[in-house]
């Protein structure tokens, strides 16, 4: 259940950047290779934000595919499984170029007076 910890961390990041403006939506990016369950994240987000200045703010979770580049043959492949093996040549010298993201990508601010 580290989604709860992640949500608290997201709330801290957003609160520190929002400068007291109303935040309507927060978008996070979660890489395919992270063991984070999007539905759990959304559930925990409500728990963490209820009763705070972020209450009612929507959490959007963007999935980032895992992509590896083979250093032997240069092939670039999307990895469904967490296996670092080149689909083209079978080599194991595969470097991840995405799939491990755990980012607060953006926040949407409401109109302020």
């Amino acid at each position: 259940m580290h989604e709860l910890s992640l949500c608290r961390a997201v709330a801290d990041v957003v609160t520190s950047h929002a400068e007291r403006r109303d935040v309507t939506r927060v978008t996070v990016q979660v890489g395919h290779l992270r063991q984070v369950v999007p539905d759990t994240l959304v559930f925990c987000w409500k728990m963490v934000t209820d009763g705070t200045e972020l209450a009612g703010c929507e959490l959007a979770v963007e999935h980032v595919p895992a992509v590896g580049v083979c250093r032997s043959c240069g092939a670039r492949n999307e990895l469904d499984e967490p296996v670092l093996r080149c689909a083209a040549c079978g080599g194991r010298d595969v470097v991840l170029v995405s799939g491990e993201e755990l980012l607060v990508a953006s926040m949407d601010l409401a109109t302020s007076d």
């Binding site: 580290h2 950047h17 063991q35 980032v64 194991r92 953006s106």
Partner: protein, 282 residues
């Protein structure tokens, strides 16, 4: 484990300056375009000249999307760096010991403390959700042991994070130690996500757990520098296919060091202890 996409985004996002220009986005300019799908979140953000969004110093501001591209765990990582600096200042090496519940971390640690003996001064930071059972089992073996119960916060945590570890550091005499073992909470998912300031990660895997575990818990297995395959004395009584496990492990973490042990019989513990001695004398 090298994590992709880390930004040195230490400064806060700033909204419009005195000249009415749009605020700066430190770190954001290196983050675009290097992975598919990321751009979906960037479209609503107006960098155009003359835009007055973002300037809310007492004026009305329209709705806007503010790009942050900030590591969710940046606060944790900052505290982990502070822990690491303290470890370096004291000349102590630190290993984060992780496993599922019941894999044998504490039994392994008991045997390890006996073998390392007085030659290597060891501190143990024992993470436990609620009890002191594991810490009690380590008493009397010459190590400095301190307990961190993770239930103190908002709900029991299933892992140690850098802040919890930091809170326990004053209770360990770091400068007189050679090695600190952080025994994490038994869990194959959450501990792997949290850097606590360690120099190396070790995981204990027991052969009663099944060959497919590296594929089911790749984050944990990929993050380990050394995998201790424990309870090998049980192999004759199990259907466990060690070669298949090693192949699955190589699929997710080809560089991991593997040590086969039985904490019960003592088999293989010399190899594990030499790995620890190497870490302590680095």
């Amino acid at each position: 484990m090298g994590r992709f996409h880390r930004h040195s985004d230490e400064t806060a996002h700033r909204h419009g300056g005195p000249d009415g220009s749009h605020g700066s986005h430190d770190g954001a300019d290196t983050g675009n375009g290097s992975h598919d799908g990321a751009d979906a979140g960037h479209g609503g953000h107006d960098h155009g000249a003359g835009s007055d969004v973002g300037d809310h110093s007492g004026y009305r501001s329209g709705p806007e999307r503010v790009e942050l591209l900030k590591e969710i765990l940046s606060e944790n990582d900052r505290t982990a760096a502070a822990n690491r600096a303290d470890f370096a200042a004291s000349g102590v090496s630190v290993v984060n010991l992780m496993s599922s519940p019941g894999a044998g971390k504490t039994t392994l640690l008991r045997r390890t403390l006996t073998i390392l003996g007085p030659g290597i001064k060891v501190g143990v930071l024992e993470g436990d959700i609620e009890t002191s059972l594991d810490a009690d089992r380590l008493e009397g073996l010459g190590a400095e042991v301190t307990l961190v119960n993770t239930s103190a916060g908002f709900g029991a945590e299933c892992h140690l994070d850098a802040v919890m570890v930091r809170s326990a550091l004053p209770r360990l005499p770091l400068s007189s130690l050679d090695l600190v073992v952080i025994e994490n909470v038994g869990n194959l998912v959450c501990p792997a996500e949290f850097d606590v300031g360690e120099h190396a990660r070790a995981m204990v895997f027991s052969v009663t757990e099944g060959e497919e575990k590296p594929l089911k818990y790749p984050v944990m297995f990929r993050s380990a520098d050394v995998v201790v395959v424990n309870k090998v004395d049980l192999l004759p009584y199990l259907d466990f296919d060690l070669d298949l496990f090693l192949s699955n492990l190589a699929d997710v973490n080809p560089g991991a060091t593997v040590v086969r042990t039985s904490a019960r019989t003592g088999e293989g513990l010399d190899g594990w202890c030499s790995w620890l001695r190497g870490l302590a004398s680095r």
